[in-house]
């Protein structure tokens, strides 16, 4: 019950941050941070993969509803939710995967958390920006958007994770 409340709170907070602040920040058209993705990253390690997928879809769908991009974010978040167990299994030992723990730099080290975050954020942004433009027109421009936004989104997620574990 306690953890349900905690993750519900994190969901509302991250969605609000995204819609009210990060959707309004824009540096030069190349950098669009999507920090709401942090919600999918911090779900417990032991979460069943089908619940993870449904939650990913729901998260993307809510963002889509409020930004008028129906389906675009949902597509990218479902892909992110799908690759998450694989990225985790590359780095987490079997006994750790049994626990209720939420992936964080506090428990597993900054280096580990950074690799984990950047990989999933990159997959998400790659899908997002290419689905948004829906063509290979301006290919290099889109790749640049993906790379720069991945860096900035990852930075904010690691920062928020740091704040979270300090408390």
């Amino acid at each position: 019950m306690n953890s349900l409340l905690r993750y519900g709170g994190a969901f509302v907070l991250l969605i609000a941050l995204q819609l009210l602040i990060f959707n309004n920040i824009e540096f030069s058209g190349y950098v669009n941070p999507f920090v709401y993705l942090m919600f999918i990253l911090i779900l417990p390690v032991s979460i069943p993969s089908w619940i993870l997928l449904l939650l990913s879809f729901f998260t993307g769908f809510v963002i889509d509803l409020f930004s008028g991009t129906l389906g675009v974010h949902a597509f990218a978040t479902v892909l992110a939710g799908f690759v998450r167990p694989w990225v985790l299994s590359l780095n987490v030992t079997a006994e750790a995967a049994e626990t209720e723990m939420s992936p964080s730099s506090y428990r597993s080290g900054l280096r580990w958390f950074l690799i984990y975050t950047v990989t999933i954020v990159f997959v998400h942004h790659l899908a997002l920006f290419f689905v948004e433009i829906f063509s290979l027109r301006h290919f290099l421009h889109t790749v640049l958007r993906v790379l720069l936004s991945t860096a900035v989104t990852s930075f904010f997620i690691v920062l928020f994770d740091f704040i979270r574990s300090r408390r």
Partner: protein, 274 residues
């Protein structure tokens, strides 16, 4: 049957993944009418409500820019007024041209949500069907063309921005009246392209680009942007880079433009074409 069940259980994650991605793709491909759907009406009313409150807070910080823009427009209008009244003193009676001038009505509106960083940008205004806004009306700021209304709810309306890769505007070079199609390529929010201009047309850096008036949405001669001098050749035509006169990052107050005789004009054009 049992083996089918076993198969489904074994691959349940993969199957769920594929189903969800398919649902997302279907939503993407069928969503070009999204702005007219009931679902969007609901979310627009919620997000409009939130955005309106946020906008009220941040509007204060942009007052300087807003004032400057209004002063510029006032000066221009005063100049026009002086021209018209001085004309009448010399014995001319100012007449409204019923073909181009008096057919348009203007309604002021406030931008409550806007973006410039997507491929398909939309703007939300605090005016809706209650105030007489309808789909297909043009939207302009004091400094230039902004977009076209694509969705309306009771209190809010959504505008397809000029910064939307689906948007096409018929525009012409003010100096020589050659017209082409203005479209955004999705890269820089300050620049757009005027294509389909023949090779032989002489253009200068700084030439003014205005609406052509060939569609019933905007009156002719509405300021849109200026040429930067950069051009791209392709086939029989050149496409010219245009610096937009409206700064989409600073949009606050805009006008919704209604055409009083739009239906009449479109009916006639349809009738002749059939």
């Amino acid at each position: 049957m049992r083996s089918l069940l076993y198969f489904l259980l074994r691959f349940k994650t993969l199957i769920l993944f594929l189903v969800l991605e398919a649902v997302a793709l279907i939503m993407i491909t069928t969503s070009h009418n999204y702005h007219e759907t009931v679902l969007y009406g609901v979310s627009r009313n919620i997000s409009g409500f939130v955005a309106e409150r946020v906008e009220k807070g941040t509007y204060y910080f942009r007052l300087r820019d807003v004032n400057e823009e209004l002063v510029t427009e006032n000066t221009m209008l005063k100049k026009r007024l002086a021209e018209l009244t001085s004309g009448s003193q010399e014995g001319f009676i100012p007449m409204h041209d019923s073909v181009s001038g008096a057919n348009y009505t203007y309604l002021n509106a406030r931008v409550i949500s806007n973006s410039v960083n997507k491929q398909k940008n939309f703007i939300t205004l605090d005016r809706g069907s209650k105030h007489g806004v309808a789909v297909g009306m043009g939207v302009a700021s004091p400094s230039g063309v902004v977009g076209v209304v694509v969705g309306v709810s009771r209190n809010y309306s959504v505008v397809m921005s000029l910064l939307n890769t689906d948007f096409r505007l018929s525009a012409s070079i003010a100096r020589n009246d050659y017209f082409g199609s203005l479209a955004w390529d999705g890269t820089n929010y300050r620049y757009t392209r005027l294509s389909e201009i023949p090779h032989h047309v002489a253009v200068n850096e700084g030439d003014t680009i205005v609406t052509s008036g060939y569609s019933a949405i905007f009156p002719a001669g509405l300021m849109t942007g200026t040429l930067t001098g950069k051009q791209k050749k392709g086939g029989d035509f050149v496409s010219l880079e245009v610096l937009l006169s409206a700064d989409f990052k600073k949009l606050t107050d805009v006008y919704v433009i209604g055409n009083l005789t739009k239906d009449e004009r479109e009916d006639l054009e349809k009738e002749v074409l059939q």
